[in-house]
């Protein structure tokens, strides 16, 4: 068991190192940050001096090694654009993204499951058919378009909700800012979280529906009905419970996707999170910020997968069998 976990962690670290290597080999193609850092009146000499100073004249494996060396000591370098430590900037931006992701995730789960169950039970009803048809919008329209449409409807035409930003925030403790405690902060959350959560919501809804239809065809449901149980008990206690196993797995994996996909939503709504930071970093070729963000996201994905793998071992006894004995 312990050997399994150690092996898994070892593999995760290997994956992280490879992700970093690929990222650093790609940075050369993003462009040259020097021209963004020096003004119009720079000379070729200035360009070379700064390049040497930043270590950009070194081949990418050397740059990568230096990044790892710093990262191992908790130092992700200094942003080329802002001239501040990257870790400080990331910590400052993280609450915005995490709050947005949490609200979108909640919306997606609550409405996704509710609508999924509804459309499965009333699968021939008119309302269910309308929901299924409109849910196609959520899967097929690109996120930025949904965001722009929502802004034009609710901010420009109706004037109900703010068109960009996070509203007023409240500082909690050292490093957390929250938009949950002010009216303008809550209002600002509505449109971006719908935009970000819509795709996940339709995904969960369609998954719940098809799983539920599958379960409702099973023999034990038929027997339950034959026993004279009410529809409510049959649908929710017996059918839904058994539907949830695959749904929970997918939700867990989608959690990371919500944070990673936040880039587009944050750009459309000028949401001050890490996704927007990353987009700006690409435009400016701010390599330290790009590197730290990519590592952070891959740590998160690798971490989630690691936890899921370990949980499986606890849940499913068949995986616990020692490998040597499995032959």
């Amino acid at each position: 068991m312990l050997a399994f976990i150690i092996r898994r962690i070892g593999q995760s670290i290997l994956v992280l190192l490879i992700v970093g290597l690929v990222a650093f080999s790609m940075f050369r193609f993003v462009g040259d940050p020097i021209d963004n850092m020096l003004g119009q009146e720079r000379t070729i000499e200035d360009v070379e001096r700064l390049r040497t100073q930043l270590g950009l004249d070194q081949p990418f494996p050397v740059q990568y090694y230096r990044f790892l060396e710093g990262a191992a000591q908790g130092n992700f370098g200094v942003s080329y654009r802002q001239g501040r430590p990257v870790s400080e900037i990331l910590l400052e931006r993280a609450p915005a993204t995490l709050e947005l992701a949490a609200v979108s995730g909640m919306l997606a789960i609550v409405f996704g499951i509710a609508l999924g169950v509804f459309t499965a039970i009333r699968r021939n009803g008119a309302t269910a058919n309308i929901i299924m048809a409109t849910s196609l919008i959520g899967v097929s329209l690109p996120t930025f378009l949904i965001g722009i449409l929502l802004i034009y409807l609710f901010s420009v035409e109706l004037g109900w909700l703010p068109s960009f930003g996070r509203g007023e925030t409240v500082q909690i403790g050292e490093s957390w800012t929250t938009g949950f405690l002010t009216i303008s902060g809550l209002k600002a959350l509505i449109l971006p979280s719908i935009t970000l959560g819509l795709y996940q919501m339709t995904l969960i809804m369609r998954l719940v529906r098809s799983e539920m239809l599958e379960v409702l065809r099973q023999d034990y449901i038929r027997f339950a009905r034959a026993r004279g149980l009410t529809d409510r008990v049959v649908n929710f206690r017996h059918a839904l419970k058994n539907t949830m196993v695959p749904v929970v797995t997918v939700i867990g994996l989608q959690l990371g996707a919500i944070i990673a996909f936040a880039i587009i939503t944050e750009t459309v709504f000028q949401w001050p999170g890490v996704g927007l930071l990353f987009i700006n970093a690409i435009q400016f070729v701010d390599i330290p910020v790009m590197a730290a963000y990519l590592m952070l996201i891959s740590v998160m994905f690798v971490g989630i997968n690691l936890i899921v793998d370990i949980l499986y071992v606890f849940i499913d006894p068949r995986l616990r069998v020692d490998r040597t004995g499995a032959h």
Partner: protein
């Protein structure tokens, strides 16, 4: 809704014409630092002009006017300039401004770590005569010196020393990267890099405040559609720039004013003058036709600039004849005509040069540096095809673009130039037309290596000539030279399009600097 209209009408009726107000604005680029000597870019210098002052400043019509210096005069026969400082000026923290702060700001801005030190390359010595008199000595007579330091902002020595910020540090930042202690019309109240920056009026400012703002907040909004929506919904009062394609629609909205103007940036085509062979396209490896002036002239004639302005720019940009716009000093009136669009003439020139059957080459173009840059290059590609020249267009993001140009990887390229510093014709002459010379800091953006002996010879005289008429005659002469030799093909002058709510009055300056002190909220 009727209730609201009534309330607005009432408030207009009872209030005096000027009432205090909060102001929100959005721009595409966040100023990357609050340090006025660390980065020489328009977003930084434009923003910091609201909180810092220079010795001189630019008026609404781009004339040099007194700021922290009340007056200035040449020393002797042009050995330098003597500035008499304004008395009774204080920094935001209450410290007094005097000649020692000017000397400190000079040391700081001309240091190797400063990005604006090229403004001081003609300066040999700075002398503090008394508390309110400073002398700048230059290596040659320098009539443009006062204008060239309009964006050189004054910092307090005591504050910088106390906070360990005596030199700019753009690589890792310091106290001055995030904090401001200027003498300007506004004080920095809150700074969250990339998110928002809040300014409040400086109650003890030395000049009379024209604005009626009580608090101003700047938010960078990168996505143009979001910025337009924020303006339409009233979340912000002012947005710059407004995308050209949205300008007409915004003009139709009674709540929005669109302010159009002409920027100081000229867009042009450059050639590989020095290369012996073409590097890209169908004729790669063959002798470089652009070394022949007839071919360059044919290119100029084959491009229909009016059509580009009508279709891509929807009529909001102006054709360009030279490296600067008519709005800037040193513009050559006698050379104001640009080559007429003439397909037959272009074909005849090509035939004369031995390219009757045309040739193929590569055009490098940025796709995110100037508005519509890639669309303009596509139009040029199609226009040159009509005279038999086949263009292989390679458009790329600007962060890949400059390294390609520096490595000479082009046959022809697109460039925009806005004269920083002096805002005079001498600026592009120095950077674009002069023969590249690293030691003399000349021609550092002359990627194609254009070179003309007479122009190089005349340039020092242009820089030091005190008599305006003689100076203009020299500029007219070299403008004629680079036009005749078609060193570049100037295409058009970029427009400035700003959008405001209709209750906002402000001034648009051609250098695209937004001055809060000229804003009135009605």
């Amino acid at each position: 809704m009727p209730k609201l209209t009534y309330a607005v009408a009432l408030s207009v009726a009872v209030s005096s014409p000027v009432m205090a107000a909060e102001f929100q604005w959005a721009g595409k680029t966040d100023p990357q630092t609050m340090d006025p000597h660390a980065v020489s870019s328009a977003p930084v210098l434009g923003f910091l002009n609201n909180v810092y002052d220079g010795l001189v400043r630019m008026s609404k019509d781009m004339e040099v006017e007194p700021s922290l210096a009340e007056s200035w005069e040449p020393i002797g026969a042009g050995e330098g300039w003597r500035f008499t400082l304004r008395q009774g000026v204080t920094f935001h923290d209450g410290a007094t401004f005097d000649a020692d702060d000017v000397l400190f700001s000079y040391e700081r801005a001309s240091d190797e770590s400063s990005d604006v030190r090229s403004w001081f390359s003609p300066v040999t010595e700075v002398k503090v005569v008394d508390d309110y008199t400073v002398e700048f000595y230059t290596n040659a007579p320098n009539p443009l010196f006062p204008a060239s330091i309009a964006n050189w902002m004054m910092m307090d020595r005591g504050w910088a020393e106390a906070n360990n910020a005596t030199r700019p540090d753009k690589e890792s930042g310091n106290f001055a990267t995030l904090n401001v202690n200027g003498t300007g019309a506004f004080k920095l109240e809150d700074r969250q890099p990339g998110l928002s920056t809040t300014l409040v009026p400086n109650e003890s400012w030395w000049d009379n405040a024209e604005h009626n703002i009580t608090k101003a907040t700047f938010t960078p909004i990168q996505n143009p559609a979001t910025a337009v929506a924020a303006l339409l919904s009233g979340d912000v009062d002012f947005v710059e720039p407004v995308p050209i394609q949205d300008a007409a629609r915004l003009e139709a909205d009674p709540n929005i004013n669109v302010i159009r103007g002409i920027e100081t940036r000229t867009i042009m085509l450059g050639f590989a003058h020095e290369a012996d062979t073409l590097k890209y396209g169908a004729s790669a490896g063959q002798p470089n036709p652009f070394q022949d002036v007839r071919v360059r002239e044919a290119v100029a004639k084959a491009i229909n600039v009016d059509a580009i302005l009508r279709t891509i720019w929807r009529g909001s940009a102006e054709p360009a004849s030279q490296l600067v716009t008519p709005a800037l000093s040193g513009f050559s009136e006698v050379n104001a005509a640009r080559p007429a669009f003439d397909i037959e003439g272009a074909k005849a020139l090509l035939a004369e040069a031995g390219y009757a059957d045309g040739f193929g080459f590569g055009l490098k173009c940025p796709n995110d540096r100037y508005p519509n840059d890639e669309a303009v290059c596509q139009a040029i590609t199609a226009m040159l095809a009509q005279v038999g020249i086949q263009v292989e267009l390679d458009a790329m993001p600007v962060s890949n673009y400059w390294p390609e140009l520096r490595a000479d990887n082009f046959d022809m390229y697109l460039l925009g130039w806005s004269p920083g510093g002096s805002l005079d014709h001498e600026h592009p002459l120095r950077f674009l037309a002069s023969t590249p010379n690293e030691e003399k800091r000349l021609g550092s953006w002359n990627f194609g290596g254009y070179s003309n002996a007479r122009l190089d010879e005349a340039l020092p005289s242009i820089l030091s000539e005190i008599d305006p008429d003689k100076r203009q005659a020299l500029i007219d002469e070299v403008t004629g030279i680079y036009q005749d030799e078609v060193a570049y093909v100037p295409l058009y002058v970029q427009p400035l399009v700003w959008g405001t709510r209709s209750n906002i009055q402000l001034t648009q300056r051609p250098d695209n600097f937004f001055m809060l002190r000229w804003v009135t909220v009605n």
